[in-house]
């Protein structure tokens, strides 16, 4: 079907959202809580766009709005830019010391009301990506608790998590580096729990926790060798080289 974004006519796929279409066609719509695989969270509100369907204009979140025939989308109207600016300003009030938020604040040239900056910096912007990551890739050990401005991501009772395997997926997807991971030579501490790291049997580097390996073994139903990602890639590349040799 035909959809217009910023005046440009595009071929949209049935069932996709405006944001998915834009990403496919390399049209920029900012978003903080969107990641391929974790869609339609609708938390950060940065992806708001103005749509026209028939006569009326409306502001919608592009990560959730499904494409329709003859939809017209504007991604950078004056109103939309002002809203994005305000959203960044609101985030800055909560996370003034966070370097990622500071970068955004500079980019959007915000004018923050200094009187309302929170005294205690809080890096988390509550995008929810860590919770999604833990649900999809981990063991569902963390979640959003409380509500309103008390809302935060934590383990039950802020206790050392029984379910966490220390895989670090949450920290990897976090856009503001809000999840504290402390690593020593042999340990990784995350969500108030200390994990033992295991070393790659090829290069000797400490690369993951024992719990992550055990969890993956459970999912796959077979034993896994302690080999880190880099070494695995190298092995795969070498295997290809070998088989290539045998063909020619």
């Amino acid at each position: 079907m035909k959809v217009k974004i910023n005046g440009k006519v595009l071929n949209a796929k049935e069932g996709e959202t405006i944001l998915q279409l834009a990403k496919r066609k390399k049209i920029e719509i900012p978003s903080l809580c969107y990641k391929k695989g974790f869609e339609d969270l609708g938390r950060c509100r940065m992806c708001l766009v103005e749509i026209k369907n028939g006569r009326r204009k409306k502001i919608v979140s592009s990560c959730a709005y499904p494409v329709k025939e003859n939809l017209e989308v504007q991604t950078h109207t004056e109103e939309i830019i002002k809203i994005r600016k305000d959203i960044v300003m609101l985030m800055y009030l909560k996370s003034p010391d966070n370097k990622y938020v500071q970068k955004l604040a500079e980019e959007y040239k915000i004018d923050e009301p200094k009187k309302y900056i929170q005294k205690i910096n809080d890096d988390c912007i509550l995008c929810g990506l860590c919770v999604e990551a833990c649900r999809e890739l981990g063991t569902n050990a963390i979640s959003m608790v409380q509500r309103g401005s008390e809302k935060k991501v934590s383990t039950p009772y802020d206790d050392e998590s029984k379910d966490c395997i220390g895989c670090g997926s949450c920290a990897e997807v976090c856009p503001t580096d809000a999840i504290k991971v402390e690593e020593t030579e042999n340990t990784r501490t995350i969500w108030n729990r200390k994990f033992e790291l295991v070393s790659c049997k090829i290069c000797g580097k400490n690369y993951t926790t024992l719990e992550t390996i055990k969890y993956s073994e459970k999912l796959l139903g077979e034993e896994i060798e302690y080999i880190c990602n880099e070494c695995k890639k190298k092995i795969t590349a070498d295997t290809f080289k070998e088989s290539f040799k045998n063909i020619y």
Binding site: S143, V145, D163
Partner: protein, 166 residues
């Protein structure tokens, strides 16, 4: 407070009975937690573990629900729970004066419990008795048309009657 802990130990068997009334479906999480709350006056950590085991759900999902819905409390409450209505009608008819008197009489803030475990105070939104504004509800009993004086008298009477019973 020791008496309370013993109460929990003995009554954890109650939790089983409470949960058995429901199918093993996470749809009933909130209902289960509310029944547990009614039984123990709050949700003990142990009881929450039981719920997550019963419905085969990760603990953090049950914890999320328990902290989202404000009808549930993770902290033990006092023997007498004072709910000060701050619905709009009560608010403009002076619920702040009611709250002030409670705060000064009992030396606690909303959400807290007195040291002797006798009173806790909460602010709630509209108990539906707007004609009697400002209203406070203590253990399901309604006290309407409250003034600072009346609040003081009610609290004193409860304390007196409670001491007599001991």
């Amino acid at each position: 407070m020791i008496a309370l802990e013993n109460k929990i130990e003995i009554n954890l068997k109650n939790t089983e009975k409470i949960l058995e009334k429901y199918p093993k479906n996470k749809r009933y999480t909130l209902a289960m937690l509310q029944d547990i709350q009614r039984n123990y006056e709050y949700i003990p950590k142990e009881a929450m573990y039981e719920v997550s085991k019963y419905i085969e759900s990760p603990l953090n999902e049950v914890y999320s629900i328990a902290t989202f819905y404000k009808a549930l409390s993770l902290e033990p409450k006092g023997k007498f729970v004072i709910k000060v209505c701050n619905g709009t009608a009560c608010h403009i008819r002076g619920s702040d004066k009611v709250l002030d008197e409670i705060k000064s009489s009992l030396d606690i803030q909303p959400g807290e419990t007195t040291e002797d475990g006798l009173f806790s105070v909460e602010i709630v939104n509209c108990v539906g008795a707007c004609a009697l504004a400002p209203v406070m509800v203590i253990n399901e009993k309604y006290y309407g048309n409250m003034t600072k004086d009346k609040v003081h008298k009610v609290l004193e009477k409860i304390r007196r009657d409670n001491n007599e019973q001991q």
